[in-house]
């Protein structure tokens, strides 16, 4: 192939640019909720994101990359013309990157995933006509864009209802949280471990079948649940003066009222000599009731604050989960086309058999981390400052639902938008009456961006493809 070196260099630059874009913009959306709820400081969020995004990309990022690389267009068509394929993939990367930059500038809520899928469809159609695109696969991907927010909304709605019923509606929310926390940790850790080890860690030669994978995952889940149980037991329960006192006060007030009633009855039937004494007793009970009433008045519920303190730790866990899931799904947007280009150049023909190499996944992960370090933290700060209304329990629910949906999609090899999934999850919590105010116009904006992004990515890809082919074709 001619100009192989230049094409290789361009592939590296464009792929890195795309990964940088993901790190700079998307990670902030995924992690901003944790910063907003105060579960993580900005500094810690960046560190957690860097570590977990990279591990997600490196350890579990291959299946979606495969889909982006060869699931969308019919690579057989290009077997006689590898240069066109290389130029096409380069054009797709550049198109998605440029479109994202434009959209960021205007503040449109577009998704990296949608841009790259649109761009690949674009050059595929230009090269081989409508038949060049695997439409069934494309429809599957597109329907996953609708299904993923709906699914995460459902999961978060149900999870939050569960939290309401088992924690917030309980007489003692703190005790309830202590009971429930190990279970929540168990669920998160099991799913997280399962996604890693079940056909996951190919790059470490550690991919297991479902049976052993499930065993390991459950083991990790149980150990973390036990650790959690030990840790939460250390948290002090509020004393009687705090939340429980409300019900006790109620009981005391009722008993006092009864006592007064009985005393009156005694007074009515007793001798005048005793009557005076009883009169005094009644007066004293009266005084006691007044004191009680004064004490009973509206007070804050300190145990709710402590519940949120426990949820801060749970949310850190779910934030890790989100970062991992995000890395595993979104790295494909940069790495899919990049690895297609690298392999085609290396082998001189359109490669079909070999898998996405770990080195390329690592490069993608690195790109995301650098994007985060250079620009993403700033966006994260802005996002975090804007969503202060979110409490850790809500944040945990939303992140848990979104991350579960994303890892599910990753396992199915579907490139979905992490941000849109998270939006779905937050709306789910809102539907369960968990949020102060949600701006549903954002949902409309997202729908519009679906309609616009795919064609826009396609058109940009067509233009860049023509330009690149003019140079290298």
């Amino acid at each position: 192939m001619e100009h192989a070196d230049i094409l290789l260099a361009l592939a590296g630059i464009f792929g890195f640019y795309m990964a940088w874009n993901i790190g700079a913009n998307d990670v902030a959306n995924a992690m901003g909720t944790s910063v907003g709820s105060g579960a993580l400081t900005l500094r810690r969020a960046v560190i957690v994101a860097a570590v977990l995004e990279f591990s997600g990309a490196f350890l579990a990022g291959s299946s979606v990359s495969e889909t982006v690389r060869k699931g969308i267009i019919d690579t057989d068509l290009f077997s006689s013309d590898p240069t066109a394929f290389v130029c096409g993939m380069l054009a797709a990367l550049l198109a998605a990157g440029v479109w994202l930059q434009i959209a960021s500038y205007f503040g449109w809520p577009v998704s990296t995933t949608h841009s790259i899928v649109g761009a690949i469809i674009g050059f595929g159609v230009l090269y081989g006509g409508v038949e060049a695109v695997h439409w069934p696969k494309v429809w599957q991907i597109v329907s996953s864009w609708v299904i993923s927010p709906l699914l995460s909304a459902t999961i978060s709605y149900l999870t939050f209802k569960l939290l309401l019923k088992n924690i917030f509606y309980q007489k003692n929310p703190l005790e309830a949280t202590k009971r429930l926390a190990p279970l929540l940790v168990f669920i998160v850790m099991t799913i997280l471990t399962l996604t890693m080890v079940f056909k996951g860690l190919k790059n470490l030669d550690l991919d297991l079948e479902l049976g052993p994978a499930l065993l390991i995952a459950m083991g990790v889940g149980i150990v973390s649940a036990i650790v959690t149980a030990v840790l939460v037991r250390r948290i002090e329960s509020p004393t009687d003066d705090d939340s429980m006192s409300y019900h006790r006060m109620q009981y005391l007030a009722n008993s006092l009222a009864k006592a007064k009633q009985h005393l009156r009855r005694v007074k009515d039937v007793s001798d005048p000599s005793v009557q005076e004494e009883i009169e005094q007793l009644i007066d004293r009970t009266e005084a006691l009731t007044t004191t009680m009433d004064r004490k009973k008045g509206p007070t804050d519920t300190p145990s709710l604050n402590k519940v949120e303190k426990i949820f801060i730790y749970l949310q850190i866990l779910s934030a890790c989960f989100v970062a991992f899931a995000h890395g595993s799904n979104d790295v494909a947007n940069a790495i899919g086309p990049l690895s297609a280009v690298l392999q085609t150049i290396a082998e001189g023909k359109v490669a079909l058999e070999s898998a996405v190499s770990p080195e390329v996944l690592a490069l993608g992960g690195l790109g995301i981390v650098i994007g985060l370090a250079t620009w993403g933290w700033r966006v994260m700060e802005t996002v975090g400052r804007r969503i202060t209304e979110l409490t850790p329990s809500r944040g945990f629910t939303a992140e848990f639902a979104a991350a579960t949906t994303i890892v599910l999609a990753t396992k199915l090899g579907l490139p979905i938008s992490t941000t849109h999934t998270l939006v779905g999850a937050v709306v789910g919590v809102g539907l369960a009456r968990g949020m102060g105010a949600l701006n549903l116009n954002t949902v409309r904006d997202i729908a519009i961006s679906w309609v616009i992004t795919v064609p826009a990515g396609a058109i940009f890809a067509m233009i860049f493809y023509k330009i690149l082919m003019a140079f290298f074709g």
């Binding site: 409300y246 509206p298 116009n441």
Partner: protein, 224 residues
């Protein structure tokens, strides 16, 4: 692409509470005014009435701000209509406080000796009733935190009941006061008598509205 940040609107609950605090300032001003009123210190009444008017205007500004930040696309855990009703009831309380202050400052109104004590009791009970309903509003953010159910909801339910009881007490007190007023018709001129009745009616509106307000919050609670 700060999609997530755009999803979170400005929660109306905190401004709602700060509005209620402004309303509370009006009512507190009224408490001060009643003391001066029964002492027939006419010069100070005007000043306090002006102060209450000013606070009422500030409350109006907060109210408008809340209404402006409730676009149709905003999704709230409480029905939008109900929330707007809660705000207007709060606003009406402030308006009523202003009306009472204005009525008290219209004329150098004599306070018959027989009325004085019961009148003060009536005023105290009315403001107490308002402060109970204010406590309900103060619980709103806790209520949001606990998903409008559980211990918090129980607490609010109790408070709402307490408001209703207090309102009834105010009514009883008002009846007693009216009886005394009608007995002392020969002490007052017709205009004075008429003004007195209007003042009493306005003051009793405060507890009526407070009960109304508490009931409206009550309907937002999760039914178990």
């Amino acid at each position: 692409m700060r999609t997530i940040a755009n999803l979170f609107g400005k929660s109306p609950f905190v401004p709602l509470q700060s509005h209620m605090r402004k309303v509370s300032e009006c009512i507190d001003g009224l408490g001060e005014l009643f003391q001066i009123f029964v002492n027939e210190d006419y010069d100070s009444i005007d000043e306090i009435a002006r102060k209450i008017s000013k606070t009422e205007h500030e409350a109006d500004l907060v109210k408008n701000d809340i209404r402006n930040h409730l676009p149709r696309g905003l999704f709230l855990p409480v029905d939008r209509g109900k929330l707007l009703e809660i705000i207007s009831t709060q606003d009406e309380i402030a308006d009523t406080a202003e009306n009472v202050a204005v009525l008290c400052s219209l004329k150098k109104l004599p306070v018959p000796a027989t009325v004085k004590e019961v009148f003060l009791e009536f005023c105290t009970k009315s403001t107490e009733c308002f402060h109970l309903s204010r406590a309900v509003i103060e619980q709103l953010d806790e209520l949001l935190e606990s998903g409008f159910g559980g211990v918090e909801a129980e607490k609010v339910r109790e408070l709402v009941h307490a408001v209703a009881v207090k309102e009834h007490e105010v009514d009883l007190c008002q009846r007693k006061l009216l009886r005394i007023m009608f007995d002392s018709e020969d002490v007052l001129t017709y205009a004075e008598f008429h003004l007195w009745l209007r003042i009493l009616a306005e003051i009793s509106t405060i507890s009526d509205l407070s009960e109304n307000l508490a009931d409206k919050v009550r309907t937002t609670l999760e039914i178990k």
